[in-house]
Symmetry: C2
Subunit: 195 residues, 2 copies
């Protein structure tokens, strides 16, 4: 136990990211000062710079981690062969994952403009990979004749926007359970791509 008083790098780093995510998603990146983050964590402002070179890198770290986890979680899902079953899996996965990470999802849509062009491009390419996963399902179903969409690219964007919208109104303990919401959205998506 030779550790010096006030040395907590293994917990302060994650705490900084957690508080930054909470504050950024609530007030917006530009409206949150480094001092405000430090206060929430319980350290002085200067201490933050031991964990991030600057404010923008802190934001980028949050968005990059979120996108990596999103892609990894989707790739870990069981992979159904049937296009309709895969599409249902995607719909339920997207709603579930996004509701569990509401803060990060909000950030990843709202705060992109605060990234440098290079960092912006990196996040966008990860998002594109995720969109491509859905488009591949739609193409497969289209080829098999079980889906009939006029344009798979537009259907991809339409479905993702529709599903992500759940985050704007869903509240735990509200009128509908998360599972019921998933079922209702799946019903609408299923019909929207039906022949």
């Amino acid at each position: 136990m030779a550790r010096k008083t006030g040395s907590h790098s293994e917990i302060t780093g994650p705490r900084i990211r957690a508080e930054a995510a909470r504050l950024f998603s609530r007030h917006g990146f530009a409206a949150v000062s480094m001092r405000a983050i430090a206060r929430a964590v319980g350290v002085q402002a200067g201490a933050l710079y031991l964990y991030t070179p600057d404010k923008e890198s802190l934001l980028f770290d949050l968005l990059k981690t979120h996108m990596d986890e999103l892609l990894a979680a989707w790739e870990a899902e069981p992979r159904a062969e049937d296009p309709a079953a895969r599409l249902e899996c995607f719909v339920r996965f997207h709603i579930r994952f996004n509701l569990e990470r509401a803060e990060a999802v909000f950030l990843s849509y709202m705060e992109l403009r605060n990234l440098s062009p290079e960092n912006f491009a990196r996040i966008e390419s990860l998002r594109k990979r995720y969109e491509d996963a859905l488009e591949a399902i739609l193409r497969q179903g289209q080829a098999a004749g079980v889906f009939a969409v006029p344009d798979t690219k537009l259907a991809t964007m339409a479905i993702i926007a529709m599903l992500t919208g759940v985050n704007t109104w869903f509240r735990e303990g509200g009128r509908l359970s998360r599972d019921r919401v998933e079922a209702i959205y799946w019903d609408m998506v299923r019909k929207s791509v039906a022949p």
Copy 2:
């Protein structure tokens, strides 16, 4: 022509709102300074306070005007009796109007958190009125047996999110014309609420 040099109230007011909308939508409310708005307009920062009591009121004015114009434009649309025809009208109206006012739409989704609680509530109640217009169409079609949605409230939120999403990717002069996009989205919406 007794007007003093530098007196332009009838054009400076609208210019301030236009430049503020452009800058807020591009960089975010908190990231745009009053100096930056003044510079874009071509006046000094102090002159802005002849047109707005403070920065937040300027934002509120933009959002309020947008919501008022949205509601007025929808109410001015020809009102079809048939629920399916009215729904198609809503889909096309929403896409068209939102694409024409991309900056204001972006602001009205992204910058709500920068309003005071009172002003936030005023904007949200206008948004609710717009959502209610769509829900009324869905209820009417449901009662007539031409639509079959598991939950009209969720279908309302799903459809609006899907349609508003067009603004995130549509570019004039791209692969698809605006009319073609409207038709494709209408096809998907039509099927999603079909029995």
